[in-house]
């Protein structure tokens, strides 16, 4: 028992569960008892009631059947009706069944006596009385019958009737009594139930009170102590000795509070230290902020400088890249307006053409500027060679939609040559924004750059002019000229070269490499390898001596013969290039060829008859020949000699024709005779090869 108490003492949950289980058990036990009492009272009442009702019904049946027996017996006596007789025995049987049923019920002693008397009467009636009385009736001796019935044989029946009446009354009395008993029981049970409810209520109150005392109060105490701690007071826990959850909670809280107190002291110390550090950091941050501001200022200045340098670079780059005058002027004025942060500007060259370019100025404005060139502020700039700033009221157009007064600053910037000669003048305008001396200084710096680039442009123009003269001269030469530098790149060619070697379809301006030249020539000539070898040798040699010439046979688009020779070009005793000269000698070459072919043909034509003449003469001289053979040989010699003579005459005629000294004899003859002449080369079927 003490062990269970110990277990319950250690846990609130277990205690609460045990109390609730006890309460539940009490509730269930009370309910069972009340239900049992109720049920037993009612079942006893119902049993009694049922038995009493059954007895009463059976007694009434017994009386009824007995009456019926008498009624049927008297009917039979009177009328001797067999039907009555049968009915009498049916009733007898029913009476016996009722008596048997009645006897099965729990009977009082008085009831048992009454049943016995009824049985004995029934037995006596059917054994003695009815046979005797029916015998009288059958004999018609009704007198004897009347005497017999008055002799008291019916007394038993009358007794039974009175008993039945009494029994009914008794039965009702019994039922009344049973009802009373039941009512009394119900009242008694209600009282017990009320008592039971009261007991349950008392127990519930006890459980609640116990729970409150055991759990609520300690928790409230803990809460109060935690509150006190939070307000900074020192808490005091009463439930530290308890072994249950409240005890654990109190001890944990107590431990936590002690730990917090200890940590708080440490944290307070650290906090003070951090506070000091934070102050120091704040000071450093302020210092850094100041440094950052300084750096930002420096950075802004640097960015400004960088922007200026970028613009200046762009200006310089555009100056370097452009060699077209108008393009250069346009580029200068656009970039300088941008660099100077101006709104518009004009540049004019001090040459005879007065080349001009503007940015943001209308054509009318430019014309007006040019007209006033010799009278405006430019005169002052020409004299002083210094930049000049003109400040004037902004025109309506310059102000645009601004109504306020505004001034326009115009900077007249001289562009000076190295010998201080004014070569150009730039004017840039700012509307509503002044020009600082530093900006004027910067503009002068830019002006120097512009001067250099204008010098370069002038030199370029002069060079270009010279180049054009040289090119024109070269183009007039009958020979093709190709100037190749030491790297094999073709520097310049003339028109004849392009036409002769069909370079006119090659894109001009692109440098022609040696490999490209050879590739091009490969498709044009038949002895390509020889040309490659000749050109390579000619380019690689650096002697001053002349070279052998090379004959190129062009095959495309028609055959041409080109004589190629090379000449080296020297500068300061050093070879810097080679001039390849292509001379079209097609005509001379063909004439040469024809001449040599002619000589060869003449030689051949002369030798054939000569061979015959010499051969036959030799045979005639050295051999013994028959006369007819001699005659044949002599004829042959004669004919061949004549042929030889005709040939020689023809050659001489040709010579005279060439020299224009041929005299012609005019005569008429039929042309077909000439065609059919045996010696004609145009004779049909004659051999195609003319040369013999």
């Amino acid at each position: 028992m003490s062990e269970i108490r110990q277990i319950l003492k250690k846990s609130i949950t277990r205690r609460f569960t045990a109390m609730m289980l006890t309460l539940l058990s009490l509730l269930v036990a009370g309910a069972v008892i009340v239900l049992y009492m109720n049920d037993s009272s009612f079942s006893q009442y119902q049993t009694t009631l049922k038995a009493s009702m059954e007895k009463r019904v059976l007694v009434e049946q017994i009386v009824e059947h007995t009456n019926q027996i008498f009624f049927r017996a008297r009917g039979y006596y009177a009328f001797l009706n067999p039907n009555e007789y049968n009915q009498l025995f049916v009733e007898k049987q029913k009476l016996e069944q009722a008596i048997a049923a009645y006897k099965k019920l729990p009977l009082t002693s008085q009831e048992q006596v009454v049943v016995s008397s009824i049985e004995s009467f029934q037995s006596n009636f059917f054994t003695n009385i009815f046979p005797l009385a029916s015998g009288y009736a059958k004999a018609g001796d009704y007198e004897a019958l009347r005497a017999f019935s008055s002799s008291g044989v019916n007394q038993e029946v009358n007794n039974l009737m009175s008993y039945a009446a009494n029994y009914k009354k008794q039965n009702e009395q019994l039922l009344l009594q049973e009802n009373r008993t039941l009512f009394a029981n119900v009242i008694s049970q209600s009282q017990w139930f009320v008592l039971y409810i009261v007991v349950v209520l008392i127990f519930s109150i006890w459980v609640t009170r116990r729970t409150t005392r055991d759990i609520g109060a300690p928790l409230e105490r803990l809460s109060v102590e935690a509150d006190r701690f939070s307000r900074g007071e020192l808490p005091h826990f009463q439930d530290l000795h308890r072994v249950d959850e409240i005890g654990n909670l109190a001890r944990s809280l107590d431990y936590l509070i002690r730990q917090i107190q200890v940590k708080e002291e440490t944290l307070m110390a650290q906090n003070e230290e951090l506070q000091a550090q934070q102050d120091e950091l704040m000071m450093q941050q302020e210092e850094l902020m100041m440094q950052q501001e300084e750096l930002q200022e420096a950075l802004a200045k640097m960015e400004d400088n960088e922007r200026y340098l970028q613009k200046r670079n762009r200006l310089i780059q555009s100056l370097a890249n452009t060699l077209d005058k108008q393009e250069l002027l346009q580029s200068i004025i656009r970039n300088i307006v941008e660099v100077m942060d101006a709104d518009k500007g004009v540049i004019v060259l001090m040459n005879t053409d007065q080349d001009v370019s503007s940015f943001g100025v209308s054509e009318l404005g430019v014309d007006q500027f040019l007209r006033g060139l010799d009278h405006g502020p430019l005169v002052r700039v020409q004299e002083t060679r210094e930049p000049y700033v003109l400040v004037r009221e902004s025109t309506d157009a310059e102000r645009g939609y601004q109504e306020a007064y505004s001034q326009t600053y115009e900077l007249y910037l001289p562009v000076l040559h190295a010998d201080q000669e004014l070569v150009a003048c730039i004017v840039v305008s700012r509307i509503g924004r002044s020009l600082s001396p530093q900006e004027q200084q910067m503009a002068m710096g830019l002006s120097e750059q512009i001067s250099l680039s204008l010098d370069k442009l002038a030199m370029h123009e002069e060079t270009e002019k010279q180049r054009q003269i040289t090119q024109d001269m070269l183009d007039t030469i009958q020979e093709g000229v190709q100037l190749v530098d030491n790297n094999g790149v073709t520097v310049q060619v003339n028109r004849t070269f392009r036409e002769l070697l069909q370079f006119d379809q090659c894109p001009a301006g692109q440098p022609l490499e040696l490999s490209g030249y050879f590739r091009h020539m490969d498709g044009l000539i038949c002895d390509h390898q020889e040309l490659v070898a000749f050109v390579k040798t000619a380019l690689s040699e650096d002697g001053t001596g002349g070279f052998a010439t090379h004959l190129i046979e062009l095959t495309h688009p028609h055959v041409r013969y080109i004589q190629l020779y090379a000449e080296h070009l020297f500068r300061d005793q050093k070879k810097w290039g080679t001039l390849l000269v292509y001379r079209d000698i097609t005509k001379e070459y063909e004439i040469d060829q024809m001449k040599s072919e002619f000589v060869s043909t003449v030689s051949h034509e002369l030798r054939t008859p000569l061979a015959s003449v010499l051969g036959f003469a030799e045979l005639l001289l050295n051999k013994e020949l028959k006369p007819e053979r001699q005659q044949r040989y002599m004829t042959a010699i004669y004919q061949e000699a004549k042929r030889l003579t005709a040939l020689i005459n023809d050659f001489l005629d040709l010579q005279r024709m060439e020299s224009g000294r041929q005299s012609y004899e005019e005569e008429q003859f039929a042309i077909d005779q000439l065609i059919n002449w045996p010696g004609s080369i145009h004779r049909p079927g004659n051999r195609a090869r003319p040369s013999r």
Partner: protein
């Protein structure tokens, strides 16, 4: 006695060479142009073939090149007659496989001597 083919388009020279070689006892066939010469060469065997350089249809040089492409005719001796007496021409013929080169005009006696040399 040798079997000789003479290919020459000039009738007078055909008569001169023909008479000279027949006098020496050689059997002679005549062709008037290059094509005829080639036909005869394909049909018969000759100990010596004399080709004029300048002939209609096929020149002597062209016939020479053809012969050199026929394997069984490789041993046959070939003489070229030409009015082109330049050294270069002679070298060209010899390079193509000619055994002798006789420039026009020529001596019939000399021709006979060269023929005999070649046949021996």
């Amino acid at each position: 006695m040798a079997h000789i083919l003479l290919a020459e388009d000039e009738p007078v020279l055909r008569m001169l060479i023909g008479d000279t070689l027949e006098d020496e006892g050689h059997q002679l066939d005549i062709a008037c142009d290059g094509e005829e010469a080639l036909q005869r060469i394909e049909q018969s065997h000759y100990d010596l073939i004399i080709l004029d350089y300048m002939m209609p249809k096929l020149t002597g040089y062209e016939v020479l090149l053809h012969i050199k492409h026929i394997p069984e005719k490789g041993s046959c001796k070939i003489m070229i007659l030409s009015a082109k007496s330049q050294h270069a021409e002679q070298e060209k013929m010899r390079a193509a496989g000619a055994d002798a080169f006789i420039p026009k005009p020529f001596s019939p006696m000399e021709l006979v001597r060269v023929v005999e040399d070649m046949l021996s």
